[in-house]
Every structure is written in structure tokens, then in C-alpha cells.
């Protein structure tokens, strides 16, 4: 058991940090105020193209698709540094983490040829059309319908809470072709397809983060379907298993905690009960980090992540919450214009337990699969 980085990993982390130092503008922290905003999306397109040129966008992808088959630690180190810096890749992190790999596994050669190269070049943004007004945690109850018509499908329905939809070129959409979980199919749809309307939802998270997406008689060709009719649920299960420890949120949380404690120490305010609260937040960040590392270690050695992935995800929720609560109590001025990055973190932290499946769903999985408690009756 070894808790240190090897030389190759240290060099890679430093390479990423050097890249960030060269390519993030001086006012980056002021810019990073809305992960799906037009300004950050525009910046991300240029930034990801530079990352791709430097071989730092998709090092863990197969060489066939422009990567270098780097191991899962490399991918995670890269993700840590990006998230700690405020995620300058914007929504393109999804391409790198799971959309690209999912298309490699389930896409037709034509779909792969059309969609993967732009991702590998850092040129394109996707959104994830999953949640609906009546289907959030209970995603399998989604109602958006895809009816077979001549040459393709006609899609009607509504998506909600869709991140990046306002700026995305393509949607990874779930729609129903038949009743039940086995009736869910996936469509890869250009967002400029006639019949798609996007409306931004003002949110506490920041500009451009969540949207409603309306689909009115949207015609898509049959070759827009990923996999086969009814295969959507199993594909999404495989895709989200990559995403459960996808975002190293602890990396930015820990950095912001360091910053907040630094401010308090300099002002002589790191006294009384403050160190205890800081230690609690620090412990939460490090537990989240180590639980995630446990999953990456399994991935590295070809061992299934198991229910510990849900525990790692929940540990992240605890970390984000602990740091956000620490900052709001002890550094309120930073959130009132004093520090845009602390503000951005605070705004994003609330997402941890909600996006990609509610924390309570993870707690249920932990109870059933890790603790082996009896299931709830349904």
C-alpha cells in the first residue's frame, strides 16, 4: 500500500499545472463565475483546443481515438488539476469522462467517426438530456416519447435541469420507445434540430448552468440512435458508473478551504472554535479524496468499483457542504465580492448532492449494497 505519487505521476501533475499557468488568463477567477455561461463556454473552446494540442485533453483515451492509453490515475490527476483550477474545460469534461468512452463502446462506426474526433480536438460541447419534470431521481419513469416514423423517429417531450444546453451542439438524449426500463433508447441529436427550444433557468449556481429543453415534433434519422431500441438504460448505467467519481470536487473544495484558512490566519481570526470547524472540513475533503482514490485504484487494477463508489460520491457531498458552510460562516465578505473563486465554489458546491443522481439515492445504494441492509418495500 503506497500513498505517494510515482515520478511519472508527479511530472504529469506538474505538466498540467504548468499548462494551466500558461493558459489561464490573469482574470480567470473572475471569468469562472458560471460553468455554462457563454463567456466560459467560449473560453473553454479555445482552452480545450490548446489542451488537445498539448496532448492533455484525452490522454486516457485509446490511441485509435487520439489518446495515449494512459491509466486511470492519469485521467484523475488531470481531472483534479482542472477542477481545482475552476474547471476551465467547462462542460467538455463530460466528453472526456464518459460521452466519448460511451460512444467508443456502443456507437456505430459512423457515429464514432462523426462525433468522437471533434471531442478529441476539444471543439464541441454536449449536454445530457436525462431529467424531466416528472422523472428526476426516478429517471426510469421518463416520458419523452420517440415514435418510429418514415426514416427515423419523431420525438416529443420535455427535459429539465439540463446543464450546458444553451451552448451545446449535441444532446445525449434519453427517450421512450416502449414502456418500462427496457423501453428507453438513446438519441444523439444536434441541438439545432428543428423543434428543439431551450430556455435557461435562473439559478443560484451561476449563469447558464441549468435549462429546460422542449422537444416538439423533433424528427431525427434512425442512425441518431445509440445502440439498439431499448438498450438505453443499460448504456446509461455503464456511462454513469464512469461518472460517479468523475468530478474530483474535493480538489477545489480543499483549495478553497486552504484559501479561507489562509485569510483567517492572516487576519488573526483562526481562533476559538474556528480550527475545529476547519479540521472538520479538511477531514471531509481528505476522506472524499481518499475514497475516490480507492475507486481509481480499483479501476487501475480492473476491479469493479462496487458500492464503495456510492460511498465516495457521498463523501464528496459531505466535503462540499463542510467547506461551503465554513466559508459562509467565517469568510462572508469573500462571498460579497471579495473573492470570485470562493464565491464560484460556494455556488457550485450545492450541486454535489443533486447532479448526476441525488445523494439520497447513493445512501440507499450504500445501505443495500455495502451494508447489506434489507431493501425498502416498493
Amino acid at each position: 500500500m503506497d500513498f505517494s505519487w510515482n515520478e511519472e505521476q508527479r511530472v504529469f501533475r506538474q505538466t498540467v499545472r504548468d499548462f494551466l499557468a500558461r493558459h489561464l488568463p490573469a482574470d480567470w477567477e473572475s471569468l469562472a463565475h458560471g460553468p455554462g455561461s457563454a463567456s466560459q463556454t467560449a473560453f473553454s473552446r479555445k482552452f480545450c483546443a490548446h489542451l488537445a494540442s498539448a496532448g492533455l485533453l484525452i490522454p486516457h483515451w485509446p490511441a485509435r481515438w487520439g489518446g495515449r492509453d494512459a491509466d486511470p490515475w492519469t485521467a484523475f490527476l488531470l481531472a483534479e488539476e482542472m477542477w481545482a483550477a475552476g474547471e476551465p474545460r467547462g462542460g467538455q469534461y463530460m466528453n472526456v469522462n464518459w460521452i466519448g468512452p460511451t460512444l467508443m463502446r456502443f456507437g456505430t462506426p459512423e457515429q464514432q467517426a462523426r462525433h468522437i474526433p471533434p471531442m478529441a480536438r476539444g471543439e464541441t460541447l454536449w449536454c445530457q438530456g436525462f431529467s424531466e419534470p416528472e422523472a428526476g431521481s426516478d429517471l426510469a419513469s421518463l416520458r419523452t416519447r420517440a415514435e418510429p416514423v418514415d426514416g427515423g423517429y419523431r420525438i416529443n417531450g420535455q427535459k429539465i435541469w439540463t446543464s450546458y444546453a444553451g451552448e451545446a451542439e449535441t444532446c445525449f438524449l434519453l427517450a421512450r420507445t416502449a414502456p418500462g426500463k427496457g423501453g428507453i433508447s438513446i438519441f444523439l441529436i444536434p441541438m439545432d434540430t428543428p423543434g428543439i427550444t431551450v430556455r435557461q433557468i435562473p439559478s443560484v449556481i451561476g449563469e447558464g448552468d441549468i435549462h429546460e429543453v422542449f422537444l416538439d415534433d423533433v424528427w431525427v434519422p434512425a442512425d441518431a440512435m445509440l445502440g439498439t431500441e431499448g438498450q438505453g438504460w443499460s448504456i446509461v448505467g455503464a456511462a454513469l458508473s464512469l461518472e460517479r467519481v468523475g468530478i474530483p470536487r474535493f480538489a477545489l473544495a480543499a483549495r478553497m478551504l486552504d484559501r479561507a484558512v489562509g485569510k483567517l490566519k492572516r487576519s488573526g481570526a483562526f481562533v476559538g472554535g474556528v480550527p475545529t470547524q476547519a479540521a472538520r472540513a479538511k477531514a471531509a475533503c481528505d476522506m472524499s479524496r481518499l475514497c475516490a482514490y480507492g475507486i481509481i485504484d480499483r479501476r487501475r487494477h480492473g476491479v469493479p468499483a462496487g458500492p464503495e463508489a456510492s460511498a465516495a460520491r457521498y463523501a464528496t457531498v459531505l466535503a462540499e457542504r463542510a467547506v461551503a458552510e465554513f466559508v459562509v460562516e467565517h469568510c462572508p465578505d469573500a462571498l460579497a465580492g471579495g473573492d470570485p473563486m470562493l464565491l464560484a465554489h460556494h455556488q457550485r458546491a450545492i450541486v454535489a448532492g443533486i447532479a448526476s443522481g441525488a445523494a439520497e439515492i447513493q445512501l440507499n445504494l450504500i445501505a443495500t449494497d455495502l451494508l447489506q441492509l434489507p431493501r425498502e418495500p416498493r
Partner: protein, 312 residues
Amino acid sequence: MDFRLNDDQLTLATALDRLADGYREKPIEFHGFALSAEGLDQDLSDAEFFDIATFPDLGPVAAALAVERLARLPYAAETALSMLVRPHLRGGTLPRPFALVENGQAGRFVAQARTLLIRTGETWEIAHPGSGDVTAVETIFAYPMGRLTGSVGRLPLSPAEAATVRRWVRVAIAAEAAGLIQAAIDSTVTHLSDRKQFGRPLGSFQALRHRMAECAVLVGGLHWLALRAAATADDGDAALAAFQAQDCGARVAYELHQMLGAMGMTLEHPLHLWTYRLKGLLSLMGGREAQAGAVGIHCFPSETQRNGHGAG
């Protein structure tokens, strides 16, 4: 970064589990707080488990794992200080059992110890008590407890030795707490799976499932914090692990007893053999506020010292 155990560590874990098999159940007739077994200590000694931190390819990580696994037994044994502190002090030659005496208070295994680590404020000394120097005391903490009552000769520890002791006592607290909490959770899961109310197992009620799942997340995190501290021997990692042990220990002990209802108030059910040992760890080394002070010093460098974005 590699979280797998090496072959020697895996072999050790298997041997330890085999040894522990004879001590997994609380005797039915035992209705007390401190359950001990001389045979367990002797078995561990015969198999040289107390020295594993010094063996090549085993080291402090293996010792921390052993402490964690042994803490899951209902029997209280003096393993943590012997396995994790003793090897780092004076060449590992001091006689065991070890015990900690803090500010004149009663301590675990003080009446059995052959080496006492004595902390008075920030001053550290060691002593080798005779039978007239210590007195056994009955407490609710599920350890054999004792008090230093005689004027035993004391030898000062150097500042470097004191720092070593502080660091490894903190690792020991974390490793032992991780095992105690895990065993207490396991015991509670058994109850929640067996006990039915309103026609179904208690463990199928979401109000309880979510709280249990949170406990599982906390102990999973503590496990890694403890092992990391053992591996790095870093003062910050040690302080953070001990802080988390004491901070979540208080919460989890109460939470698990609540899960058991009235059954958790009895001495018939074994839960208290883990939770009331856990309570015995909460005040050590000044408790969580003192650990937090050490975390504040060691874990939060000034920003000018940082290189880059700080995720390393």
C-alpha cells in the same frame, strides 16, 4: 499510489484473522463493560504481531491494519500503542503492555502496563511501574482501566521523542477507532436486519438506512485517513486522522445505540463493547479540539508556500 496490500500484508491479514477467530463472540454470560482475554494477548505475542511495524514489507500500515482488525473483536486488548507507538520509541525495546496517562487521569491498561507514557500538559515522560504504583478502576469505558497512584520514577522524553509519541498515538487512536466503529456498525446491521416492527425489518426503513449509510461513509473515510497516516508518518495526516476518529466517533456511538433502541441499553447485547471503548478514545490527546489545533498548524500551509493549485 497503490491501495493494494502486498503479499506479506495479505498473508499477515489471513494469519491475524485465523488467530482472531477464537475471540469473535462475546461470552453469553458476560454482562460487564471491559471484556479481556489473557489468551489473546499471549497469542499475539507468540506470533510476534506486536513487532510487525518493524518487519520489512509489513511496516506501520500492516500494524495499523492489525490494530483496526483486532479492535473489531469484542475483547479489549492492548494492541494499538504496542503495535504503533512502541516500535518507534527507543528502538522498540521498551517492555509492553503500554499505557497512556494524561494529566493524572485514569487510563486504558494502566494497571497492566509495564511502560507508561505520561503526558502532563505538553511534557512527556515514561515510567515502568511496579504493582504498587497503579490501581485498577472500574469504569464505563469498556477497557481495563487504571490510575497511576504511586510515585514511580519518571524519565523525560526528548522533544523529538515526544513528537514521535504524539504522532503515533494519534495514528493508533485513528486505527483503533476505525475498527471499533466498523464492528459497531456490523453489529447494528445485524440487529436492523433481524428485528421486525410494523411487519418488516427495521433496516428497511429509509429513516434508519440513510443514517446507517452516513455512518458507513464516515468509517470508510476514517479507515483511509488512518492508513494514510500510518504510511506517511506525517504529523498533519496523523492529527487529521485522530481528529476524524474523535469527531465522528462521538456521533456514531450515539447514533448506533439509537438504532438498537432499548436493546442497545443492555449489557447483554455486545454493542457497548465497541461503542464504550470508542468513548474511551474521545478525550485522548486533548480531544478533538486539540487535534484540530494540530491540523491547523500542519495541514494548512500559507498560500505563498504552495506550488500551483494545491490538489497534490
